[in-house]
Amino acid sequence: MTSLVDLHLAPSDLVDFLILGIPFGCVYALLAVGLVLTYKTSGVFNLAYSAQAYVAAAVFYEVRANQEWNLVLAVVFAVFIVSPLIGLLLYGGLFSKLRTAPPIARLVTSLGLLVAIPELVKLWFNGGNTAYGPPGLVPTFNTIRFGEFGIDTDQLATILATVVVAVALTAMFRYSGLGLKMRAVVESPRMAQLSGVDADRVSAISWALSSTLAGLSGVLLAPLFAQVESMQYFTLLVAAMAAAAFGRLSSIPLTFLGGILLGVLQQLIAGNLPTSSVLATGIRPSLPFIVLFLLLLFWPGLRKKETTDPLSGVDPPPPVPAAAIRTRGMTVFTRGLGVVVVVGGVLVSLFVLDPVWLRNVNQGVIIALIFLSITVITGLAGEISLAQSTFAAIGMFTAAQLTDNWGLPVLGTIFIGGIVAAAVGALLAIPTLRLRGIYFSLATLAFALFFQNVLVPQEWLSGGNVPTKVPRPLVGSIDFADNRWFLLLSVALLALFSVAVILIRRGTTGQFLQALRGSERAATSIGITPTRIKVMAFAVSAGIAGIGGGLMGSFEGRANYASNFDFFFGLVWVVLVVTLGSRSIQAAVIAGLSFVLVPAILSELDIPQAWAFILFGVGALTYARHPEGVVEANTRSSLAAIQRLLGHREPGATTTPQPPNKHPSSDDGTGGMRTPEPTTTDAGTVP
């Protein structure tokens, strides 16, 4: 049995690992090159790239396996017709409107697509049946032998395609006018246009090209698996992100090299760690995420600030927040109405709803509490964290273990869980908050994946096969085993933390965060310590999520990670909250309730559950029109309409519709989804 770590590798071993690592290294490289191409030519870190690959694989399967088309015809259709059309559709319908938006805004939109596209495809693909035996680009499966090893024809096709793509793209960027124009358009479409470049046309070509590459990857990599399934592509893509990071999201040759190195490193680790040791079970599955995390922190090429459009300052001013156009009377009225709605909603839930809907509302309230954590980290601090479900899970596991092993009162352990989550959040924030924009988001994603792959399987944390039990609280004679009492507890905690978030927003911390979002340099010059404030915000955010997680565990009776806090939920949550309005508590509450109630309503109507994710994902497409969030936009228009009806308005307030907000500033209600501090000079910004 392999039991010892043998790091003294003979040359033959190294050659073996190289041979074994190259085929899968090329898989990573192919996907990573596609990611870099998209980022480099469109400025979008396109998490939906895997979804585009999946579409092509599904189309290819349909026409080749089901319709039995000729191979060449099937490839041409899936890769060179459908795929570029999808790219053009995405650009024309969506990303063209976000061309000058900050990268993080485009990241959220791509997250929405990642959620929606696979579910849309599944509605028609293969009649809903398992799509076994995906056909490859090579008609017959043969193995070409190299001594003891062999490479099959599908792998060979992948290796050749990866090399050709890497060389061709490198040449295009280095030697062709189109490559230069693509980079110029990403840097500043307006500057490019001033120089006579048709920015629209160039961007459209970029999207068609990157989507074609996604399609090629989808078809090439399909035979890796026994069936065509979207999650497999996303799993590969997140691993490939490490290679893209190695290439600094800009260098095709380095990205290619990064993919190969990752493939070889995986073989080295797998071949030299004792296979069932804690070390191996921890490191092997999470290697790409550890590498990604370390690269983000220490790879010099990634520490530069994101480039922004030097002409971004010519954007029109953002719309006025809804709160600013309210008269005093209207403020009193809307707040009163809010109280009536909440109290009425709670009363209806308690006395009218049946047990199922009472349960749904309860869960929705708890999720809304967790969503407040996104309001803090995104709405106040202006960062996108993709690890909020992880912090919720930390809170839940802490509460579960403390009640199960130590017999502590669950209500106390829920708060302790929040403190533990906050501490983990602070520890994570210290190294990561110096990263900007999408790099910070990717670091949180790497952390979430590490947690899921390494820590969640541990029995001491999650309970292993059967989740650990978490009891309901008992306070005096009030037994929260009754869902009605539990709803009151959940609502009370939601109200408590909503007030806390409002206080933070209005207080010194909130003002500091706002100042930092305006201009970090200016804020620093007046004595604000960015790291301290942001670490605090991140810790508070993680703590709120942790408390929500503990509460969820108690509500469900067990620490169910897979059904509540899988990392993918964290991605959907961000999409939902940002779509509805990341700065608005009202939006967080609506988002939380929607997350639970929409699938429940669909279930009642016998509509496939897939539509819930489609709706959530498609919701992100409204981001182009309403970067401040749908709830905020609707509130503003409703208030304007009411005030028009009443025939008066406050001095200085405006009800005039504003042009689409392409470049919101810190007060725009977008939750900080704005351009980071310009890299050139503050003088470029509009006063």
Binding site: M1, T2, D16, L20, G21, F24, T130, A131, Y132, F141, T143, R145, F149, G150, D152, L224, A226, M231, Q232, T235, Q266, A270, G271, T275, S276, S277, T281, R284, S286, D354, V356, Q363, P409, V410, G412, F415, N453, P457, E459, S462, G464, N465, V466, R472, P473, L474, V475, G476, D479, A500, T508, E556, G557, R558, A562, S563, P599, S603, Q609, A610
Partner: protein, 439 residues
């Protein structure tokens, strides 16, 4: 600001000091007393008269029908057809209603077919209990079973495809596979290895609990043998991986001749493809791959490999009555024959057995009590014989299976030299490798 935070902490501290845990959720959830008196009972005569219709006051029961509802993970990340379990139940109910006029003068109706979308199991279970007004819950075929505690606490007769340990314990949860224990070692695997001439064995699984515990059980079984050695044991694979090159290289270097897997069928295909690339010729034991679609799509990879079933496979030359009836009805209705439809069919059969045994004045408690008195439930030969007097806990019911090998693109049942006794069984908790007995 600090004062506010201090006040908040003090308030929280006061709250914590005043509270404890609800007793209704701190004790181990178990079903109410199953009502059995400890004596064993035989299964009822399937051709008996069960037409007597007397008024019954029970949830989901009217003078003309008995309503049940099920929940499956129709929407799941594996793209597996768990909703086929509904077809099995519907087919069985159709047979009972058409051929026997229902049970106790009432038609059996599957009134709710719920999809828990993998993550909403507890909610859908709640809906079954409070919205759908069902007498029993069947079939259950889900990836997660977070509604188990609720079903156990309510004492609702529940039947389904049990691939989670939540089924163990509560006496009202009846899984078609009986008691499940992933970590339990059994002597069958080392016996099989010895029988096919394998001496150097490998075990692989993912780093997720269910898979790694299964691999742990395999390893424990091999430890029982003096002739078979476990030379490679790997539970560090990422769930969903398609890259098996390093494990295959290591197994090849260790001269492994039998690979025991605790991975899903998709990954098993990737594993075998990698073995073919590296020209590594060992047999593979695939406990989860009795899947005819998989065989049809990957004949080159499946050829020569071993699979197992805990129900009578369709290829048996002497088909038990229950299996033949199942196959006939599936054929008549155009439904697929697979593990999930079998699970739905057996769930329905078990329910009907309980219902008939409970008598015309049946109740949930009586159904549960009748089933828990049966010491050999076989679904007319589809199962080896579940002893429900001990099956809810690990108290020594023999473990039986049928092993098949793929030969010329077909599953061929092995060890069928004792007519009418297709099962290979071993006693629970073995300490040495024993020759399995036929049943």
């Amino acid at each position: 600001m600090r004062t506010r935070w201090m006040a908040l902490l003090v308030l929280a501290g006061l709250g914590v000091a005043a509270c404890s845990n609800s007793p209704s959720t701190t004790t181990t959830t178990a079903a109410p007393d199953d009502g059995s008196d400890g004596a064993t009972t035989a299964t009822v005569d399937p051709n008996g008269d069960y037409s007597e219709n007397v008024p019954v006051d029970a949830p989901g029961v009217t003078d003309t029908e008995i309503r049940v509802g099920g929940v499956v993970s129709a929407t799941n990340p594996l793209a597996a057809s768990y909703d086929d379990a509904f077809l099995g139940t519907k087919a069985y109910f159709q047979m009972i209603n058409e051929d026997y006029g229902g049970v106790w003068g009432r038609q059996l109706e599957l009134v709710a077919e719920r999809d828990d979308a993998t993550t909403n199991n507890a909610r859908e279970v709640e809906a079954l209990l409070t919205q759908d007004d069902v007498f029993a819950v069947l079939p259950v075929a889900t990836l997660l079973f977070t509604g188990a505690d609720r079903l156990a606490a309510e004492g609702v007769p529940t039947f389904g495809w049990n691939v989670q340990e939540e089924w163990n314990g509560p006496t009202n949860l009846f899984g078609t596979r009986g008691y499940v224990c992933f970590t339990c070692g059994n002597s069958f695997l080392p016996w099989l290895a010895e029988d096919i001439g394998a001496t150097r064995v490998a075990s692989i699984g993912y780093n997720v609990p269910q898979s790694s515990e299964c691999a742990e059980g395999n390893a424990a079984g091999i430890e029982l043998s003096d002739e078979v050695e476990l030379v490679y044991d790997d539970t560090s694979l990422q769930y969903g991986t398609a890259d098996f090159s390093a494990p295959v290289k290591a197994m090849k270097e260790e001269d492994v001749d039998l690979v025991l897997t605790c991975i899903d069928a998709n990954a098993a295909i990737s594993l075998i493809k990698e073995m073919q690339r590296q020209d590594f010729d060992a047999s593979v034991y695939l406990p989860n791959s009795y899947d005819h679609t998989l065989l049809e799509e990957f004949p080159d990879q499946m050829e020569g490999q071993y699979v197992r079933t805990d129900f009578a496979p369709f290829e048996l030359s002497e088909k038990p009555d229950g299996l033949q009836t199942y196959l006939d009805w599936m054929d008549e209705l155009g439904y697929p024959t697979n593990e999930l439809t079998v699970a739905g069919w057996v769930s329905a059969d078990m329910f009907v057995e309980g219902l008939r045994g409970a008598g015309p004045e049946f109740s949930r408690e009586k159904v549960i009590a009748h089933l828990n008195g049966i010491d050999s439930y076989t679904a007319q030969g589809i199962l080896d014989g579940l002893d429900w007097t001990v099956e809810h806990t690990d108290e020594g019911d023999p473990i039986c299976q049928i092993v098949l090998q793929v030969e010329d693109n077909e599953f061929v049942p092995l060890y069928q030299d004792d007519p009418g006794k297709p099962w290979l069984c071993e006693n629970a908790n073995p300490t040495t490798v024993e020759e399995p007995f036929h049943q």
